[in-house]
């Protein structure tokens, strides 16, 4: 590193002026002076000051080395560890940062900087402890403006703008130069659709190149799903400081959420090449590379992207379902989307997860960014782990709600409505009641409606996010059931006008939020209270039931299992009572009873492909082919991948029942899977096309069949028939 002579001269006479002076210069926009100041620090003999100087010059590795040296030389100094931890935090390593902050606290209890550091780590992960830690830091040092600013930001993340503004003003009392506090005040205004000019002007007057302030505003817009505006603020951050690589990375990530892949890639690449290589940046760049491999299908109102290995198969189901959902919601929500919906379907869950990095409280199966929806492919999860169609309809509901409200809607409402839509589409869709939800009801852990967003953003106990989804969904069920669905639409439009949850509840439901809570909780108690009350008994007896089943005591399993099932009928996950009862009935040779139990299992939302296929087989054996086809078709919306047998069987059933359109789809699915028996798959598809009087298509597939197996007699016969114009099936072809 070469330093200007002036700097060397200054360094020689360096006083005790520390890194705070350099930071002050930087925060007031005097970047050249700040740089000189940092350069001076690098020339001192004190490794700690050198570390600060090198950090200021963005020489992170060298700074890290000097911090290590400083800590080695002064192991009892907690300040060095705190600052080193902050370097780690800035360089995408919250784990090591957390360790250093904890070590500092071990040296000095209630070290404000260490507490703040831990609060920042917790805040990064949307951990509920962030608030508590920041408050402790402030208590330890009431002048710690950064802690006060953090509290303001956390309050805003928790959808409490009034508190956020209050905290920001407190920060400004500590330091009128508190730039982040000003940015929070600007965010409060902007989120409320008011100009934040007053605060933005103050930031500019204090430090015209303070890019972090714009990025902070953008962060709060992202949290509120207002991606387009967030992109504008990230651009402003870059305009203020083109070397603020974090803003470029986040700009790229959010451009991608808007479907602007090309610029997203450029911005991310630039950030990466300049050393901003945090996990979201690296993973998103990898994801963009994968985009190039994905197969895209476009129609007038849809753009769907799939992994090439399953594109042809999934297209058959997803495109149709997507169009159906769009048509349904257009009527139901009375909203017309401005452009096509882009749906990305990821066969690798890790790829999908990249899309949700840094977003709190989003679904683990799907996410909607406006017109862009990303979700797991059924192949991305274990068979039966989720219902893809339910997820698709859930996300599509967001697309419409976000469009109708211009993204101005509290999280609880849009999530609640989306959950409500899952079972509105079909009662056996949607997530089932889980033990976590039951316990939350029983132990009165549900949040007041006015605070429900907190359960999504900053969960205070494990499992609170899914519990909040459940609660929000049930609130929407309750409103739709008591006041009608239009009431929900009215609320949606009021939210779009920036009304708060309390105002909307009062305006549309004619009561205060706490009154609403009382009435809703009473309704919920009536709905699931019995199950919640019997939960401990159910758990105990369910365990005992498994033992009975293991011992092969079939009669006892049937008797006890039925009672266990009735204590918690919606429980269809691992070791559910249905499975044990079915096996007991089958062991006794009672297929009709087994079918009854399996049908009940399916009706309450059971999703195990194994169980559903068993049901279909038994239904066929008992002469109920129509029911068998319905069961298999239900499976198509759960796990249509990796299962040639499903499509073959359903195709055959529908073909024999005269549902030719359905048979064609299933045989097309089979062909798309590149099956082991290609010849039969193509032949069956050809037969279905013949039945649909689409002989041209039939001929293509019979040729495909014979290309694979030229000696395949039924296909040869069909080819002759197609040629001769006589497509009446022979008995041999019917048998096939």
């Amino acid at each position: 590193m070469r330093l200007p002579i002036a700097a060397l001269v200054m360094a020689a006479s360096l006083s005790a002026a520390g890194h705070e002076d350099c930071h002050r210069l930087l925060n007031s926009g005097k970047r050249a002076e700040a740089r000189t100041c940092y350069q001076q620090l690098t020339l001192t003999r004190d490794p700690y000051l050198r570390a600060e100087g090198l950090w200021g010059l963005v020489l992170y590795k060298d700074a890290n080395d000097q911090f290590r040296l400083a800590v080695d030389q002064a192991p009892k100094n907690p300040d060095y560890r705190v600052r080193w931890g902050r370097l780690f935090l800035e360089r995408f390593n919250p784990d090591d940062a957390g360790k250093l902050f904890t070590e500092a606290l071990a040296i000095k209890e209630n070290h404000p900087g260490a507490l703040l550091g831990l609060a920042l780590v917790a805040s990064d992960g949307f951990d509920a402890k962030a608030v508590e830690l920041a408050e402790k830091a402030l208590a330890a040092d009431p002048k710690l403006v950064e802690a006060q600013e953090l509290l303001a930001s956390l309050a805003l993340e928790d959808a409490n703008p009034a508190k956020a503004a209050e905290q920001a003003h407190k920060a400004l009392k500590i330091s009128p130069q508190a730039l982040d506090a000003l940015a929070i005040l600007a965010s409060v205004e902007i989120l409320a659709d008011r100009p934040g000019d007053q605060w933005l002007a103050r930031i500019a007057s204090l430090n015209p190149s303070y890019a972090r302030g714009h990025a902070l505003i953008a962060h709060h817009l992202v949290i509120n799903r207002r991606y387009k505006e967030a992109v504008d603020f990230y651009r402003r951050a870059i305009a203020a400081d083109p070397n603020f690589w974090e803003a470029r990375s986040k700009l790229g990530i959010n451009l991608l959420r808007l479907g602007q892949d090309q610029e997203a890639s450029q911005q991310l690449q630039m950030a990466f090449e300049n050393g901003y290589a945090d996990l979201p940046t690296k993973n998103t760049l990898r994801l963009i590379d994968k985009f190039k491999e994905m197969v895209t299908f476009k129609t007038e109102n849809t753009v769907v992207k799939f992994d090439p290995k399953e594109a042809q198969l999934l297209r058959l189901y997803f495109e149709e379902e997507l169009k159906k959902a769009i048509a349904t919601y257009e009527k139901k929500y009375k909203v017309k989307l401005a452009g096509p919906v882009q749906l990305e379907v990821y066969s690798n869950h890790d790829d999908f997860a990249v899309r949700t990095l840094g977003l709190p409280g989003v679904g683990i199966l799907g996410v909607a960014f406006g017109d862009v929806v990303a979700m797991d492919s059924p192949s991305g999860r274990r068979p039966g782990a989720f219902h893809w169609a339910s997820t698709l309809w859930h996300e599509l509901s967001h697309v419409f709600v976000l469009s109708a409200t211009r993204h101005r809607v509290p999280r609880w409402f849009t999530e609640g409505l989306a959950v409500h839509e899952e079972t509105a589409a079909s009662p056996d869709w949607g997530d089932r009641l889980t033990p976590d939800m039951i316990l939350a009801v029983r132990d009165k852990k549900l949040l007041p409606v006015a605070d429900l967003d907190r359960g999504f953003i900053r969960p205070s106990y494990p499992g609170q996010v899914p519990v909040s989804y459940f609660q929000a969904g049930r609130i929407c069920d309750y409103i739709a059931g008591r006041w009608g669905f239009d009431k929900l639409l009215g609320m949606m439009h009021s939210f779009a006008q920036r009304a708060t949850t309390a105002e909307v509840i009062e305006q549309h439901l004619g009561m205060k939020p706490d009154q609403f809570d009382k009435q809703f909780f009473a309704w919920l108690e009536n709905d699931v209270g019995k199950i919640a009350g019997a939960f401990d008994e159910w758990r105990k007896r369910a365990r005992a039931l498994a033992e009975l089943a293991k011992a092969g005591k079939h009669d006892e399993v049937i008797q006890e299992g039925t009672q266990v099932r009735d204590l918690f009928p919606e429980y269809v996950e691992a070791a559910n009572a249905y499975e044990f009862i079915v096996e007991a009935h089958l062991a006794k040779g009672d297929k009709p009873k087994a079918v009854q139990v399996l049908e009940h299992y399916s009706k309450v939302g059971g999703r195990s492909p194994e169980m559903l296929k068993k049901l279909a087989t038994l239904q066929q054996q008992l002469g109920k082919p129509t029911d068998a086809a319905a069961t298999l078709n239900r499976l198509n919306y759960i796990y249509p991948v990796n299962d040639e047998d499903l499509h073959r069987r359903l195709g055959d059933l529908w073909f024999s029942q005269g549902n030719i359109h359905g048979a064609i789809r299933e045989y097309q699915a089979l062909v798309a899977m590149n099956p082991q028996d290609k010849a039969t798959a193509h032949y069956n598809l050809a037969r279905a096309f013949v039945a649909a009087k689409q002989n041209d298509k039939a001929k293509i597939h019979v040729l495909e069949a014979l290309e694979t197996a030229k000696g395949y007699r039924p296909a040869l016969q069909l080819l002759l028939q197609l040629h001769d114009g006589n497509t009446q099936e022979t008995p041999q072809q019917k048998r096939k």
């Binding site: 192949s379 999860r381 274990r382 068979p383 990796n642 040639e644 099956p675 082991q676 028996d677 290609k678 010849a679 039969t680 001929k699 293509i700 040729l703 014979l706 290309e707 694979t708 197996a709 030229k710 000696g711 395949y712 007699r713 296909a715 040869l716 016969q717 080819l719 002759l720 040629h723």
Partner: protein, 307 residues
Amino acid sequence: MKIFLAMALFALCLPATVHYLTVSGLGGEPDYELRFTALAADLDKLLKASPGEVAVHTLSGKQATKAQLTSIMALIAGAAKNDDSLVVLLIGHGSFDGHDYKFNLVGPDISAVELAALCDRVSASRQLVVNMTSSSGAAIPALQKKGRAVITATKSGTEKNATVFARYWVDALRDPAADTDKNDVISALEAFHFAVKKTTGFYETQKRIATEHAMLEDVGDGDAVRDPSPQNGQGLLAGAFPVLRLGASHQAVLDPAKQKLLARKEQIEQGIDKLKYEKAAMPLEEYRKQLTTLLLELARIQEELDK
């Protein structure tokens, strides 16, 4: 391709005997014991029901000893003619100590070298060894030989976990879908492809890391491969090795009255194969037109043959 057709036809025409030996080895645990024995029983039933001349031997449970295995192989060696075929199917656990592969039996195990020596004594000119055990990949070097196709459930001796390949091999022999060319014969290659696909699907569906990668070697002195093809030279023998016949269609081949039709049929089939190789170099419509012409003639000949 011509060679393949000739071999396939030869295989179909063979009036010779197929000698099968299925061994389900030591399970070690009741679950494995049950599973292995059941698979061997399924195979026994399927093979005995196969049309044509077959001699089926099955060892499982307490009978699955090295002495019994040696004794049956000696019996087969005594009975088998040069035109016959030998199929050895091994189900169970295998082990590999870095040097030798051993098939786990009740009592002393048998090594791959010992097993190869037993097979060598059988004069059947065409042999198939399907080793479906853990670590079976390590047995390939000892077993491979000209005229013998070797299939293993694992690619090496280090894949030591219990395998699922055997389950899908048995499925292949009872699922007509495995007969991909619809000639009413499930060849070793078809069964291999079927079982590989199902095994892969098993691990993908279960979201588990695959701990077995089946291999095939049928050249005798080549490297075993996972994807036999004309490009790597593997699969020719296995493709023409009937493991199980599904019907009696091969009887038509024996009817002297139909020899002329059969000759023409073979000629057309060769024409189809040639056309398929030229597909990439011609417009799709033209390809389909020519293919249709050939297939229509084939269909008419087949009608005559079926009369």
